[in-house]
Each structure stands twice: as structure tokens, then as C-alpha cells.
Symmetry: none
Subunit: 410 residues, 2 copies
């Protein structure tokens, strides 16, 4: 089966948004062993959309669209799909009910005028309900051609793809492609690539490929086989070899996040944690709390942005602030000790730094961050110097702090 992806939306053609849906869907189709030969984008224009459907179905068996399912007159993907397959649009009562419930839950008033459009589908469609928005998706299968229509916002597209489209397409896939991703922190891309170059070069089945992500590096092992079991047995020895070389730098697998790995480890090892943040300002706490199990071990966080807060909430000495300045290893230490002691936790982590864009000096440049780590009576400080924007500096310091705790309690 050949497939293609067609994203609908003038905002993509204007360059207002990056088309991440195409990437997501392409990757999912590759995992299913369904080939993607084209990705296209057209604006909210019914004639050009219809032309793309005609062209796409000359080349391919499956077209997956995203976008154009909103409540406005501009949104015409279902209408154009219905025209292509020569079907009328019919009201789906279940979708209308869910739509009204959604409005109700959001405390907003439902109006038939615009919104009812979202409950109409080409006759005979399979409908995909959308718990995260007002636009359900659908699939139309006709004479060996399959049109799959999904909403545009990625937070709606992704769960709908996983819950409805994968089960639907599984019956059309030829063999499978299986990937395993190792997530790596603490090594640069090129130094990692050098260490594992014998695995990357000339890798065929499985292939091994490195990718630098915003916050870490991944190594993807991809095998092609008739059956999942066979693919997994191709991947296993390669994974073992890579882990042997990379050791503790591999912090997790696939889509796991550092905060989840750390949260589980804290729970397993019986450590409690609190944090005192200055430059990262809530990012460490916020990441930790995105892991649902964290309440067992995370007690509290203090965003001690002002010196006043550092003194009052954390017991940092005024003398230390005066003598060394807020961005100093001494203050990072006192913050970490202070939060652990006042929260009565095993571990206290602290950050203080200069995230920019102003405030840098030759001695304390933008990007300088001190991390303090108190761990059951022992205190350590680490100095970071990262280039980048305010957000990048804050994110990198956060990731580094989480990883440091992980390494300490491993």
C-alpha cells in the first residue's frame, strides 16, 4: 500500500506554523510498514484541495489529511472529501451529542449555527471521536482507496491517530518496521557518534541512527521484518552492544521523559525531594509534577527569585548573598541545604544563574548557572555555562539538574 499525507491550512502555506503533523504521521506509517511517497500542503481552498485528492489517489492508495475540520466556512476538508467520493454529508447524532457535552464541560454555550457542521460526515464514514477538541475525524473507504480525515491541532491529531487510525491501517501493512530509541544525556552528538561509530556505519538491518533533539540525543535502532518478534530479536543484540558502550549516559527508552525516569527512580530507591529555584524559576518543579506518580516523593518547591525569598524561605545568609552575590556556588549550596532542611526531604536541588538577555558581566556571563545538590547530609555544587536564549539556558539547566539527581542516586 502506498500512502501520502495532505495537510490543509493556509497558515502552513504562510509559514505561520511548522508542519509537525506530517512528521508524526510519516513516522507512524513507517512503523506500520506503509510507504509514504509524498507529503503535500494546500491552503483552505476547495478547488486546490479537490485537485490534490484527485492527484493523490492517482498515485497512492491511502491519503491522510489533517486540518480543515473547524466550525468556520473556511473549513472544507470533509465537504471536499464527500465531493470526491460523490457522497452526501449526513448528521451523526453521536458526534452531535459529544460535541454538546464537550461545550458543556468547557462551560461554554453551544450554538447550532456554526458548530453543528462538525457533526456532519460523508455518508458511510467511519467516525473517530475526539476527546480533546470539537472536530471528530473520519475514514472513507471506496473502491480500494482510503481517505482518512484528521483534525489539525497536533494534540488532537496524535491521540486520534493512535486510537483509531493505527488499528484501521494495520490490516493493510506489509510486514512491519520496528524501532527502539535509546535516550542519551551527558554526551555531545559527535562524541556519542564516535563512541558507537562501528554500530552506525554500514548498519543495514537493523539500522542505527543518531539524532540531536532539543534537550537530549537519541539513537534509533530500526529493524524490518515479517513479524514483530523477528524484528525485536534483530534489535536486541544491537541494543545490548550500545548500552554497554554508553553506560549510565543512556537514561531511558523511546518516548520516556527524564522526569519520569527520575520520578520512578526516586520512588524505587525511597528518596524524597524538594527544590529551590532561582533562574530555572519553576521549571524543575513543573517538570517533576508532569509525572503523575511524583506526589509520593516530591514535597515542595520554592521559586526564590528575589534575595528576600532566598533569605526568608530558605535560610540563605544575607552575608553570603552580599559577599558572593546571588549567582554563586555558595548561594547554590545554602539554597539546596535550606530547601532540604525546611522541607525535611532526603534531597534538595537548587539553581541560581544568569539566564539573560541582560545581567551578564565578564566574571558572571549570561549562561552561567550553579546547581546545588544536597543528598542526605552531603552537599555538592556544579557549574554550567550554556550558550543560548533565556529559555534554552533555563531548559538546559533544568535537564542537567534532573540528570544529576538521577546519576547521584543510581
Amino acid at each position: 500500500m502506498k500512502s501520502e499525507i495532505l495537510c490543509v491550512g493556509t497558515e502552513i502555506l504562510l509559514g505561520d506554523i511548522v508542519n509537525t503533523n506530517s512528521q508524526f504521521i510519516s513516522k507512524e506509517l513507517a512503523n506500520l510498514g506503509i510507504e509514504v511517497y509524498h507529503q503535500s500542503v494546500v491552503g483552505d481552498n476547495p478547488q486546490r484541495l479537490l485537485d490534490e485528492l484527485k492527484l493523490g489517489f492517482e498515485r497512492s492508495d491511502i491519503i491522510i489529511t489533517t486540518g480543515g475540520l473547524g466550525p468556520t466556512q473556511d473549513d472544507l476538508t470533509k465537504e471536499t472529501g464527500a465531493k470526491f467520493f460523490n457522497r452526501e454529508l449526513v448528521l451523526d447524532e453521536k458526534s452531535l451529542k459529544e460535541l454538546k457535552e464537550h461545550f458543556n464541560r468547557m462551560g461554554k454555550s453551544y450554538s447550532d449555527g456554526n458548530n453543528i457542521k462538525q457533526a456532519y460526515f460523508p455518508k458511510g464514514s467511519t467516525i473517530f471521536s475526539n476527546p480533546y477538541g470539537t472536530a471528530p475525524g473520519c475514514a472513507i473507504e471506496d473502491k480500494g482507496k482510503i481517505l482518512i480525515v484528521l483534525p489539525g491541532p497536533p494534540r488532537e491529531t496524535k491521540p486520534m491517530f493512535k486510537n483509531y487510525v493505527i488499528p484501521l491501517l494495520k490490516k493493510y501493512s506489509n510486514g512491519i518496521i520496528k524501532s527502539k530509541t535509546l535516550r542519551i544525556y551527558g554526551l555531545g552528538e559527535s562524541s556519542m557518534a564516535e563512541r558507537v561509530s562501528s554500530f552506525i556505519e554500514n548498519s543495514t538491518n537493523p539500522t542505527v541512527a543518531p539524532y540531536a533533539k532539543e534537550e537530549d540525543i537519541i539513537l534509533r535502532i530500526t529493524a524490518r521484518a515479517a513479524e514483530e518478534k523477528e524484528a525485536l530479536s534483530l534489535i536486541e543484540p544491537v541494543e545490548i552492544g550500545l548500552r554497554k558502550i554508553l553506560g549510565v549516559n543512556v537514561y531511558g527508552e523511546d518516548d520516556v521523559k527524564m522526569e519520569e525516569v527520575l520520578g520512578r527512580l526516586l520512588i524505587d530507591k525511597g528518596y524524597t525531594l524538594s527544590c529551590a529555584e532561582s533562574c530555572t524559576g519553576g521549571l524543575i518543579a513543573s517538570k517533576l509534577i508532569s509525572y503523575p506518580g511524583i506526589s509520593k516523593v516530591f514535597k515542595e518547591g520554592i521559586v526564590a527569585y528575589s534575595n528576600e525569598a532566598k533569605i526568608k524561605r530558605l535560610g540563605v545568609k544575607k552575608d553570603t548573598l552580599d559577599k558572593y552575590g546571588a549567582v554563586s556556588p555558595e548561594v547554590a549550596k545554602e539554597m539546596a541545604i535550606g530547601i532540604a532542611e525546611t522541607s525535611n526531604t532526603d534531597i534538595g536541588i537548587s539553581t541560581t544563574g544568569i539566564a539573560g538577555p541582560d545581567g551578564g558581566t565578564p566574571e558572571k556571563p549570561i549562561g552561567l548557572v550553579y546547581i546545588g545538590l544536597y543528598n542526605r547530609g552531603e552537599i555538592k555544587v556544579k557549574k554550567l555555562l550554556h550558550a543560548g536564549t533565556r529559555d534554552m539556558i533555563r531548559k538546559r539547566a533544568t535537564m542537567n539538574a534532573l540528570d544529576w539527581i538521577r546519576r547521584q542516586i543510581l
Copy 2:
């Protein structure tokens, strides 16, 4: 002039990389007033690439390609372009010299075998040198059709576009396109679209179009004119009309963020702020601190995730927690008052809620969040009920809290 963008690379079709080149080029073309009606992606396959060129030049006057200029046999964009225009490939001595110099600078050895390919171009091309990589780009103009061939890595594509392609295309652009974006919070997409439907329907120049973003809604006003001044004067009356209808729901313009709008407003009006977060767990503090000027008004944040922290740090009464539970309007109130009083700030904002995925009950379902707002002696509580994942619920509550403070002090 109509244009389209054609990105070449199997790695894009496999979903290994996000196609940011299409976004970058689209935005640049919009600024030049050159319309983009299609974006496409094909793999490293000469036949499909040739088909795309044929199709593209039936629809458009300009095709801009990226990718497929590397030294390997897979890289065939120039070769296919030459075939389409029926031209031979000829060696460009200047490019060859630059290529050898580039290898020299990088401390690598140049080998004629593979690399020389990168110095060959379709006869009669305008060549764009590439200081950031080994692949120069080129343009071929023939019978009113223009093919522009650029390298794939964004760090090479972008400077080449700015230095060579913009000057080349300026002579073909029909005036300019200018956009202004109004950012809206507190109205649903459809209810906003209804209020301003007279502006959206039949809008031509300027056009008015709504887009739902992850955290807010935008209305884009886009005008086409010969000169920037003329475009701005077309936009102005429409903007005034929209603002009159939408009022305080318009919180900002273009790429501004809610935290920046709020930060500036707090500074202007002389309010200080602190926050006490449970379910949002650091997100409010973290957003505020992403605005560099915030230190003037933001004192501190407490991530009071445990009941213990709510009692000890914020003075929430144990009785209140026992009687109403942590997720209750009463606790939200005491948290907001507690943080404002202990931090000595004008405003104290608090959140407590059930972000899921577990912990929901029929009385207190997942998605229930209470926000407390203490403002110079006055205390208010607001109840939210959002659908979605843990992250979405937390993000929405954060955005809602920031917007609520904005409305209170406006």
C-alpha cells in the same frame, strides 16, 4: 507570480526530521508578496522528483527546492532540474575552488571522486555559494519559469535564501503582503468567529482569518499592497473594528506572550505578585520568569504540592483541608491569601486541582481546578473544568490564571 516549495529527502518522508525549511521559505515568500499555493515533499527518487517538477510548473511560475545536493549518488536535485530544462551539467571552477577551500578549513581531505559532483550545475545557472557547507545552490530561469535549488540543512538554506534568493525574487514580487495578528483569550473559536463574522466573511483585502492555537486564538488581518504604508493603512480600520467588538479579550499582538503582556502590565500599574501552585506545579512561576523584566514585580512562588507544604508555607488551616479537601474553593482562597501575606505582595494567585490521569471522583472530576486570586485585600475564586491530558489541564489552568490577573488589574 505563483510559487511552490518542493523539499527533497527520504528522511522527511520517514518522519525522521521536521520540515522547517518549508515554513521558513513560506514566510519569506509571503513577506515578498509572492503567493505559495503548494508545499510538497518527495524522496530521493529521480522519477518522482521529475514528476513533481512537471506538475509544479504546470501550476506555478517558481519552484524552490531544498535538499538532494549532497555528494552521494542519492542526491539528484540538480541532475533532475537539468533534465527538466533539457540542459547539460557543467563544472563551475569557482565552486570547485570554494569546495576545496571548505574541505581545507574543516581539516578534511577533499576527494574528487564524490565531492566534485557538488561543483556541477545545469548550464546557464546562477550559482549561490555556500559558506556553511559543501553544496552551493543555483537558479535556472527559462521561458518564464524559475527553478531555485537550495541545500537541505536549515543552517545552510536560510543564509543562502537571504543573501541570494531574496534579491533574485524581488523583481518578481507584486507589492508586499503585510499581516497583523490579534491574540485572543477567553472566547472559544466559534463564538469569537460569530462575533466578528461580518469581518471574516467576504473579506478580501485585507482578509481576516481566525486560527485556534494551543493556548489561545488568533485573528490574522492580512493586506496586500504596493507599499508597506498602504498595507498598514488597509489593516488599521479593520483592527480598530475588531478590537471594538472583542474588547478586553484581545490581550496582545503578533508573537507576544501572555506572560509578557501581564509582566508589563504589573510593572506599569505598580503591582507585585507571588504565586502558590498545587496542580500547575511551577508552570505559572516558570511562565512569568520567562519574561526577563519580571524580577521587578515577581517576588516568589511556592509549589505546595503536599498538604504539609500548604499548611507550613502558606498557612492553610488543617481544618480547611480536612473539611473541604485540598481541591476546594476554600483551600484555593487560603493559599492565595497565604502567599500574598507571607510574600508581602499586592497579588497572590493560587491553583489547586485534579490534573489526572488518576484521582478523579464524580464530585471532583479530572480537570477540575480552582484558582484563587487575592488582590489588595479582596479575594476571589474561580472554578475551571477542562478536558484533556494532565499537561493540557495544567497548561490551560496556567493560562487562565495569568489572563485572570490581567483582567483584574486592567
